[in-house]
């Protein structure tokens, strides 16, 4: 070794990190994850995924495909049969026609689709409007794409539906897109067709692209899901992002899709082919089985969530954790404002004193402060026990 390479100063990895990555805040969930992991006998209402295991017929179809040696790449856009099956379902559910050859892309989870949507559309400095509280990935994904996230609040008095005035207030000459995420994580809010129609004017006036994350669409209760793409004249400017994680209990398989105008989907496909190449083949095979034969199992799981939703939401209101009726996803979002504690203090004490884990609402944005996200994707017995413990906690406040 050369003399000059000895006794070097310590390697400073930090100096080699990107400014964007450094400026992104760490996930607010991490601290809770560590606390809950170390605790025995805790009931977690903090899990953002189904408690059901993927239905057996889906797993079995995947096992068979592996036995048959189906282990090669698929086309960049995904298996043609899977694209067709998804287009068929969207035609049935939303009454919208998409061309399976060029208006759909199969992605590695909806997470990839969200990332691609921003990377394919934002130039440096372009802004995207994101209603809060919301899933934690949107703002970081916008930043990674070189864009600027403009977070806008939604409120309890509007049942956490996005209001057109909020879009109007946030729009600048650099605004390119607005993200919609309904049914919503963390609030369980939905937007009906009439609610979406209220947004159409401001969207068109400002020539915005609508990126609509509809991963909880199948988990809508007592009302069928409405998409912005269904509104008259809005299909072309809407990008629908969806997947099988929540509807078919397939989170770990990582299968999502993007649907929309062929130029938009084509641009996303470019990024996808250089970064991902294709979604995992075995997971696509499983997704095809789920799309073709998984409807019964999906309805069975949705029915169970609906029973738990009624049990849990009525229970929260009974013990004094006021909660509006969530009509989608599998979350309840009760208010804790009457106790004057911050969401984090409340959640931390609830965990330490009664061993119930929930996620503080502020993790999902400033307008989530004063609320808790409680997932009811857990067994009825655990929900009943959690309600008892929460009642004990409240009576000691």
């Amino acid at each position: 070794m050369k003399q000059s390479l000895k006794n070097l100063p310590a390697w400073n990895a930090d100096a080699h990190l990107s400014h964007v990555v450094k400026s992104m805040p760490p996930s607010g969930i991490r601290k809770f994850f560590d606390l809950v992991s170390e605790m025995d006998g805790a009931i977690s209402l903090g899990v953002g995924e189904p408690d059901f295991v993927t239905p057996w017929h889906v797993r079995e179809a995947c096992i068979y495909s592996l036995e048959s040696g189906d282990t090669h790449y698929t086309s960049n856009r995904g298996m043609p049969e899977l694209r067709e099956a998804i287009c068929d379902q969207v035609r049935r559910d939303l009454k919208l026609d998409y061309n399976p050859a060029k208006e759909i892309l199969i992605t590695t989870g909806v997470s990839e689709a969200v990332d691609l949507a921003f990377r394919a559309t934002l130039n440096p400095g372009d802004e995207a409007i994101v209603p809060e509280p919301c899933y934690v990935a949107y703002a970081p994904d916008i930043m990674l794409a070189g864009g600027v996230p403009r977070m806008v609040p939604t409120r309890l008095e509007d049942e956490f539906r996005l209001q057109p005035e909020e879009i109007a207030k946030a729009v600048t000459e650099n605004t390119k897109a607005v993200l919609l995420s309904y049914p919503n994580n963390p609030t369980g809010a939905i937007m009906t067709r009439a609610d979406l129609e209220d947004l159409a004017d401001v969207v068109v006036e400002n020539d915005l692209l609508v990126i609509s994350d509809e991963v909880y669409a199948k988990l809508s209760y007592s009302v069928s899901h409405a998409s912005f793409a269904q509104l008259e004249g809005m299909k072309d400017r809407t990008l629908i992002l969806n997947g099988l994680s929540k509807s078919h209990a397939m989170t770990g398989w990582r299968i999502g899709y993007a649907m929309g105008d062929s130029a938009l989907v084509g641009a996303m496909t470019k990024v996808h082919q250089y970064t991902m190449l294709c979604a995992p083949t075995m997971a696509q095979v499983a997704a095809l089985e789920a799309m073709q034969k998984g409807n019964e199992e999906m309805l069975r799981m949705r029915h169970e969530y609906d029973l738990r939703r009624r049990l849990f939401v009525s229970g929260l209101n009974r013990i004094g954790l006021d909660c509006f009726e969530p009509r989608g996803a599998f979350y309840a979002f009760p208010s804790i404002q009457r106790w004057g504690l911050s969401s984090e203090e409340f959640a931390e004490r609830l965990l330490q004193e009664q061993k119930v884990a929930v996620v503080p609402g502020n993790v999902f944005g400033q307008s989530g402060e004063g609320f808790l996200r409680c997932s009811y994707a857990t067994s009825r017995e655990e929900l009943i026990e959690a309600l008892d413990r929460m009642e004990n906690f409240i009576s000691g406040l």
């Binding site: 994850f33 977690s44 049990l311």
Partner: protein, 159 residues
Amino acid sequence: MNEILEILSENAKATPSEIAALLGRSEADVAREISELEDAGVIKKYITLINWEKLDNSVVFAVLELKVALQRKTGYDAVAERIARFSEVESVRLISGDHDLSVTVRGKSMKDIAYFVAEKIAPLEGVQSTCTHFILKNYKEHGVILTEKPKPKRLVVTP
């Protein structure tokens, strides 16, 4: 299917108040409907699913396939109802295919069941032949997998 029955078929211990919370109905309303279903004979009994293989004291089950001569007027009913009265018999079903009746029998030992079949079932008028299948292992009962391994764990908190 009736939503109350669906819940009770999964859990006989579900109380009217729990069922009411799940369905968003009043407790009194649910209790009334349950007693109507009981009175109408739709709900016959509330029973417990036991995994006998976890216990030491032996319980043996067998499935009997019976060929039965069809009777004028009473069809299969007379002989089926006669068989159903034995306390050793757990279930009696009329089936399609090679045999006519499928009967589940419970006993303390294989010998016990073999004697029961030989003494009580085979000699019955109308029973033409019997074939006894002893149950060696029970994998699934009433929709519940008895050999199931513990569920894989989810991460405790995820966004």
